[in-house]
């Protein structure tokens, strides 16, 4: 079996006057759905843009399906589909013309699958792009990225503005895409409950760095919410403990059970320790505070 990752990013760095992305190492396993999450301005879009050759990194390499993003740029773009919220197709007039235009560039375009996507997403070739709703344009963008069946799909905020039905339809399609174990999806999104449900792996990007990464369920289950009473100063530097809120001597925090345990917490002087599981969203809120 070919175990080469679908996307492999190593030592990537891009510096701007006010923001630095990286150094970043990230690996997306083939056949998986990988969720890239991070607060606004964390560097998600910068990273995705770099993959597609928009801007040159200062250091590091990016490979998609084994193709280097600078030396094999054409091959990479023949294997990787892109969707971003800023894509505009208005100049093509109607949905059908946009489809015919993009199809011309993509020898692997699948007409039957395109028809299926038109139906499940609920758009028609006769519709005027200018009068499509925001969600409608998102659907068109997704259709154009999906219908040529690229090996790797990189989707930047693909469900913003979609209603619950359409969102479910999109995730259902993404699960169908990874079904053959050959194709891979990288998705950046703020819809954390969706990502918790549908992704196999997540990476949390914060201020240009990858804060935490792993199999989604493992990452979530590895952490728990803890509450206790303690002097704050005592616990500030306990590895694996991230303090969320502190009021007098009451403390609410998140515990990484790979690095710390309730026993260790008590040894540090925490009293009345209570713990409970958390969601990806709750983990995200504390880690990226």
């Amino acid at each position: 079996m070919n175990t080469q990752p679908a996307i492999e990013i190593s030592g990537l760095e891009k510096r701007y006057p006010k923001f630095t992305l990286g150094p970043l190492n990230l690996s997306v396993p083939k056949g998986s759905i990988y969720g890239l999450i991070g607060p606004n301005g964390a560097g998600k879009t910068t990273l995705i843009d770099l993959i597609f050759g928009m801007g040159a990194p200062h250091a590091g390499t990016i490979k998609v399906c084994g193709f280097d993003h600078t030396t094999d740029e054409v091959a990479l773009k023949n294997h990787a589909g892109y969707f971003g919220p800023d894509l505009s197709y208005v100049v093509w007039g109607d949905v059908g013309r946009a489809i015919r235009f993009v199809k011309g560039f993509r020898p692997t375009w699948d007409d039957a699958y395109c028809q299926h996507l038109l139906e499940t997403l609920g758009i028609a070739t006769s519709e005027k792009i200018a009068t499509l709703s925001f969600g409608g344009r998102t659907k068109l963008g997704l259709l154009l990225a999906l219908a040529w069946k690229p090996q790797v799909l990189i989707l930047d905020e693909p469900t913003t503005g979609l209603d619950a039905h359409s969102k479910q339809a999109v995730f259902s399609e993404l699960l169908a895409i990874v079904r053959d174990e050959e194709r891979t999806v990288l998705i950046s999104s703020h819809q954390l409950s969706d990502l918790e449900r549908f992704t196999d792996h997540v990476g949390i990007l914060h201020k240009g760095r990858l804060l935490a990464e792993g199999a989604t369920a493992e990452l979530v289950e590895r952490h728990m919410q803890v509450e206790f009473t303690c002097e704050r100063t005592v616990l500030e530097n306990v590895p694996g403990l991230t303090i969320a809120e502190h009021n007098e001597n009451r403390c609410r925090a998140i515990l990484d059970t790979d690095l710390c345990s309730l026993e260790i917490l008590e040894q540090h002087g925490a009293c009345e320790v209570r713990s409970q599981p958390l969601t990806l969203e709750e983990l995200f809120l504390v880690l990226t505070k």
């Binding site: 056949g31 998986s32 759905i33 479910q168 995730f171 259902s172 699960l175 169908a176 990874v178 079904r179 053959d180 174990e181 409950s193 449900r197 549908f198 992704t199 196999d200 792996h201 199999a215 989604t216 369920a217 289950e221 599981p277």
Partner: protein, 131 residues
Amino acid sequence: MSPKSLKLLLPPVSPAASGTLYEQLVAGLKQAIGDGRLTPGEALPSFRQLAEEMLVSVITVKRAYEELEREEIIYRRQGLGTFVAEGGANRSREAKLEKARKLLNEAAREAAEAGLKPSEIRSLFLETLND
């Protein structure tokens, strides 16, 4: 024969239900195997197929299958697929029983913490049964 769809045979996997998504899937499969809706030798969908049917990540289904495999309720044959094990129904029922015992223990502890005496707890259990 290709495996039948489990979409409507299993309870929906929902964040509003108790337990993690994969635990819900394990419980649903045990229920279906325990009450004979899935029979020994019957093929189960691949985990990628079930992920698509239940709208959960592939890894969630993989974990559920691995747990059921460990408990010998289902088994995997390389290249052929995953099947309900001979005796899987019994083991599913045992697992259910084990869980029921745990929940009853927990209920007894809650009742004791509420100040009920053993005799009162016993009648509480009987009352619950008669409802």
